[in-house]
Amino acid sequence: MPEFLEHYLSLAAKAIFIENILLAYFLGMCSFLGLSNKVETASGIGKAVIFVNTITVPLNWFIKNYLLDPGALTWTGIAAFANVDLRFLTFIAFIATIAAAVQLVEMVIDRFSPSLYNQLGIFLPLIAVNCAILGSSIFMQQRDYTFPEAVVFASSSGFGFYLAILTMSTIRYKLRYSKIPNGLKGLGITMILTGLLAIAFLSFSGINL
């Protein structure tokens, strides 16, 4: 296998299984807990996360490299901008990009693909405030990914979220027929099951591609 392909494959495997954004970094818990009741909803939000993540992380990569980093503004050709460091604006710039991108994506798919809109539509506004999306962008910034790395990381961490929420929704489907102590119903048992799921995902940690 060519070396670069191997590199991206190992990055993807790491983001999906070993450092699963939900089970290892706890990002996106709100939508995970709120929307894992039904398999259809879970799969809808999961797909929407993959979709939005793959768009926003590369977008934020451009923001980071051509706007925020020290010396990023050299492309403007204005000498005074060469040493400007705008990194203190990172969070505001990222969340603004995400919110705007989500709005835009919603309008575009509403116009061009009604069937996709029916699937993802109601989930898109929720996603703007999903920690997994902002978290992926911030990880991209912290780990200094190159552009292709950012794209691979974004889609595979989205896929990791999809996998986790889909698994959870199927487990909760089974759970409807079990007898659970009153106080543990709902949130409590879901947390404990997520813990068990996270233990299962820990077993991937030995894998080294």
Binding site: G135, I138, G183, K185, M191
Partner: protein, 203 residues
């Protein structure tokens, strides 16, 4: 609503984490050590109290359809402030908290309270609500952290609890508590206890 109720409700009956299911991400991630949990609570208290107050001050000026973006901008600016303060005064702790201070922006408690409470209530009530919700959040956070640090590293707030002789006789700290699954399970059990006490049953 009575002022007292606004303050006491989020502490127990309507706790943001165990009852409203908001802000779980950070509750799990920063609870490896009690110190981290306390610093995180302080940062959140600052952001939530200020954002609730500011949103409430401007609630009549904010147009309804762009309210989320306006609220996010207010919150994000406050988080930048909190992050810079942490970096300036507590550099080591802020390193350990890594992305989770930044993620206060998307912490559902902050946006949830801004949109759900501050948009419809006066400044004083919103201030109290913000403060009380951070306190309710902090209680659960510190509780989870105490269990995880105690069982995982044998210390509480960095102070060793077990005597050396215990380790000499073969006691081993439970490393699982420091990993992600430990957080989920401890929080799950705390939710169980809390809901049994308050008598809340989810259908």
């Amino acid at each position: 609503m009575l002022r007292n109720k606004i303050f006491t409700d989020p502490l127990m009956d309507n706790n943001p984490i165990t009852r409203q299911v908001l802000g779980i991400c950070s509750a799990l991630a920063v609870t490896v050590k009690v110190e981290l949990a306390i610093v995180m609570t302080l940062a959140l208290t600052f952001v939530l109290t200020m954002s609730n107050t500011l949103v409430s001050i401007f609630r009549k000026q904010i147009p309804h359809n762009v309210r989320i973006i306006v609220q996010l901008t207010i919150i994000a600016s406050l988080v930048v402030l909190a992050d810079l303060m942490l970096k300036g005064f507590m550099y080591d702790v802020s390193k350990e908290l890594s992305v989770f201070v930044a993620l206060i922006i998307t912490n559902c408690i902050v946006l949830g309270r801004a949109d759900g409470f501050a948009m419809n209530n006066n400044v004083k009530d919103s201030f109290i609500d913000g403060f009380a919700n951070s306190l309710g959040y902090g209680i659960i956070l510190v509780l989870v952290a105490i269990f995880r640090e105690f069982l995982g590293s044998g210390t509480i707030y960095g102070i060793t609890i077990f005597p050396e002789s215990l380790y000499a006789n073969g006691y081993i700290d439970n490393g699982l508590m420091l990993l992600a699954p430990g957080a989920f399970i401890v929080l799950g059990l705390i939710i169980w206890v809390q809901r049994t006490v308050t008598g809340f049953v989810e259908e």
